[in-house]
Point group: D2
Chain length 252, copies 4
Amino acid sequence: MKIIFIGDIVGKPGRKIIKTHLPEIIEKYEPDLIIANGENAAGGKGLSQKASDELFEAGIDILTMGNHVWDKKEILNFIEGDDRIVRPANYPTGTPGKGYTKVTIEGKTLLIVNISGLVYMPPLSCPFKCIDEMLASNDYDYSLLDFHAEATSEKIAMGWYLDGKVNAVVGTHTHVQTADHRALDKGTLYISDVGMTGPYNAILGVKKEDVINKFITKMPTRFNVEPNGPKQLNAVFLDLKAKYISPIQIVD
Amino acid sequence: MKIIFIGDIVGKPGRKIIKTHLPEIIEKYEPDLIIANGENAAGGKGLSQKASDELFEAGIDILTMGNHVWDKKEILNFIEGDDRIVRPANYPTGTPGKGYTKVTIEGKTLLIVNISGLVYMPPLSCPFKCIDEMLASNDYDYSLLDFHAEATSEKIAMGWYLDGKVNAVVGTHTHVQTADHRALDKGTLYISDVGMTGPYNAILGVKKEDVINKFITKMPTRFNVEPNGPKQLNAVFLDLKAKYISPIQIVD
Amino acid sequence: MKIIFIGDIVGKPGRKIIKTHLPEIIEKYEPDLIIANGENAAGGKGLSQKASDELFEAGIDILTMGNHVWDKKEILNFIEGDDRIVRPANYPTGTPGKGYTKVTIEGKTLLIVNISGLVYMPPLSCPFKCIDEMLASNDYDYSLLDFHAEATSEKIAMGWYLDGKVNAVVGTHTHVQTADHRALDKGTLYISDVGMTGPYNAILGVKKEDVINKFITKMPTRFNVEPNGPKQLNAVFLDLKAKYISPIQIVD
Amino acid sequence: MKIIFIGDIVGKPGRKIIKTHLPEIIEKYEPDLIIANGENAAGGKGLSQKASDELFEAGIDILTMGNHVWDKKEILNFIEGDDRIVRPANYPTGTPGKGYTKVTIEGKTLLIVNISGLVYMPPLSCPFKCIDEMLASNDYDYSLLDFHAEATSEKIAMGWYLDGKVNAVVGTHTHVQTADHRALDKGTLYISDVGMTGPYNAILGVKKEDVINKFITKMPTRFNVEPNGPKQLNAVFLDLKAKYISPIQIVD
Ligand SMILES: [Fe+2]
Ligand SMILES: [Fe+2]
Ligand SMILES: [Fe+2]
Ligand SMILES: [Fe+2]
Ligand SMILES: [Fe+2]
Ligand SMILES: [Fe+2]
Ligand SMILES: [Fe+2]
Ligand SMILES: [Fe+2]
């Protein structure tokens, strides 16, 4: 099973470069499935109906989320009814939406789970216990975890914890692609962070001036998605059967 | 001016792969100077006399530090007298050691500064104000900052803040090399994190079992450097004059 | 010099109980000066022109602030011109407003300083260094610090650090009055937290349901000031000359 | 049912003032049960066999714990076998020791639970869900929660959440007694923090110089329990039936 996993899509620039360059990625890698992290797809914060429609139309099959999942309140109108959207599974029982989804391709079922880390992140239930429960309570042939986390220690620990148990553990959230993609000892494909899809000359997708001003002045600052300049697309190609992972970086 | 900058060296495995592979790196890149982050060089925590001696003898010219600078108390015996060791400059006035050093090569002086970030890090003075002061109060031809920080937002903000003012901003601390090395718009060489030099099948250099156990049980756990298995060397090559940066990854 | 210091005033309920009960406090204690923490005076977040006018008219002489100082943007319109408003002094140079003010009563000058803590708080410059500089660069007969901080360790450390150097160190920010008011060994009057002035059957002034819902669901929740029910007024009476401090608690 | 609950006992000075003054407290209040937080009873960090023996001999019936529960490793030797020691219940299943205990007095059973907060604390499972489960899975006539937490918001939220469901919610951990003891609307007895039992002229029980030095220099500093000077005993008296709570403060 061949998958393209795209790092956090930020705002209109992120959606735009997806539309422009996803066709050539599809042509090159012939993926069975395209997953993207969509927690910043609407104006840099959250996911709107419009942004999710745009991304699904552009060819993305599944959107995973993260700590920004509820930033656009309108997601509460459509997250329940849409099996293509996966929010962190370690929210409490009763939270709107689902923490996993399943896709069957040519008779093989892929379990896709989204979990949020705890280190330097809002308090949710234990990610390690959560993935154990997800794996135990589902039937599937292949499995992939989007571990949305900040600290490299927690991410790599999750990778090794799941080595041989899950086909792929990909990290998201830091908006910077890491150079540590590999197959772990027992075959689990791993990367600490897939990176970010959005403005290239910006800070995590936000205008440089906004973020720098915040760090210098310590004053509240509105963070605007950088609307101008080149864009970047960060992704990984995963061949779960061949146990192969390779990074994708496009700047345009 | 050509520089090799080596990511956080962890314990004996880190020092060992330096000794084994630095000669071939020197032969290939012909650097004028070799800098390494040494905050974890002694047993994974801090810097001992023995570890620093070993690394200088192996060919490293300058050791930068980070939040682990004081983990081995014996550093207080030699940090004052050794201009080759640079601790975060944003410690208070009066702190042992220095936050910068200068090296002159063929008539050109390189200013090397080490600064610690504040996001998810212990409280020190403002990194942005600190680098401004360092640059204003020193004479130099070239400059390089090791920004030892956790959050990608703070690191990239520092990169853009210094674009055109400093020749290179390299990040350390997360122990994972990032895939975002580039020259920024005005020529500053940048990478969010150079990565880690030490055990390859480990978690930031620490035994997998130790870190996973901590995350699962929430109990205090002693973190041991992984003594066995393959090792990795993470570094970047920087040509300050040519405004060129390229990553180095060796696994052995 | 006799002072009433009132703990964080929260929204309309806080302003209302001030108007109702300040007269009787004035009558009872005959203070030379009334200081209040006003960082939550407008709708629970920040300080508006209207809220500050109301409080000054009610008899408060000086308003100190805290981490919520910028929550109402309109404060930027009047903080510069109003010497009765004091924001944390450890913001960077160039920040609007002032970190201290002076009041002269019967020929004696009181220096009033507001400083924000760093533990579990946004990063500002070192509080300890900041107060040292404030004391060194001002002339005064008496001095009082509102140390707006979260952690008891940092607050008590500040108290002992300033024992004998400052006449009073009063803590704010946690919205709960502590039962540790005392004169320290060298005479500095101290209390870890003066408490909160606002809704009594609420959580730090916010509706119980809002805060509980946030803790249970982990979902973003709008925090509304509790508009109904009894109110509380938390304050301390300080006699700087007599080295006497006593708590004031009114519930109505 | 009448209870004395004693705030975090710190080191030898804390144990000493217990021995000296508990007899007079017993005489005055005639409690059915004496509970104390013992997480700092051994040298300021953790609980040793010796310290717990001393405290039980002095008349304490039950010791609750907190984030320092594992600081003395030897607790693993006796926590399993001793029903008088209660560690935070929101540790993962399988953690040594128990999160609750029951005591029957004159035919009435009191359920005593210890839970750790999450705000500014290590990540454990949700405190609110945890107490719900504890209450649902136990039989009892009376109940008391020691909520070991930092943030006033989380503590007061727990109080109101349990109002009418639990007889008493007492906070510990900040080492400073709060002045907000009361019966909530539906009768639950509440105090945000019971305070600390140990050195009086110190910072949370630690030598002033140690803590101040850490804040000033930002260097690692060994924290020693203050061995000299006066001591304080902080506690509350709770009459669960009469819905009455009153603070106890002794300085000697
Ligand atoms: Fe994101
Ligand atoms: Fe995120
Ligand atoms: Fe490191
Ligand atoms: Fe570090
Ligand atoms: Fe406040
Ligand atoms: Fe505050
Ligand atoms: Fe404690
Ligand atoms: Fe504690």
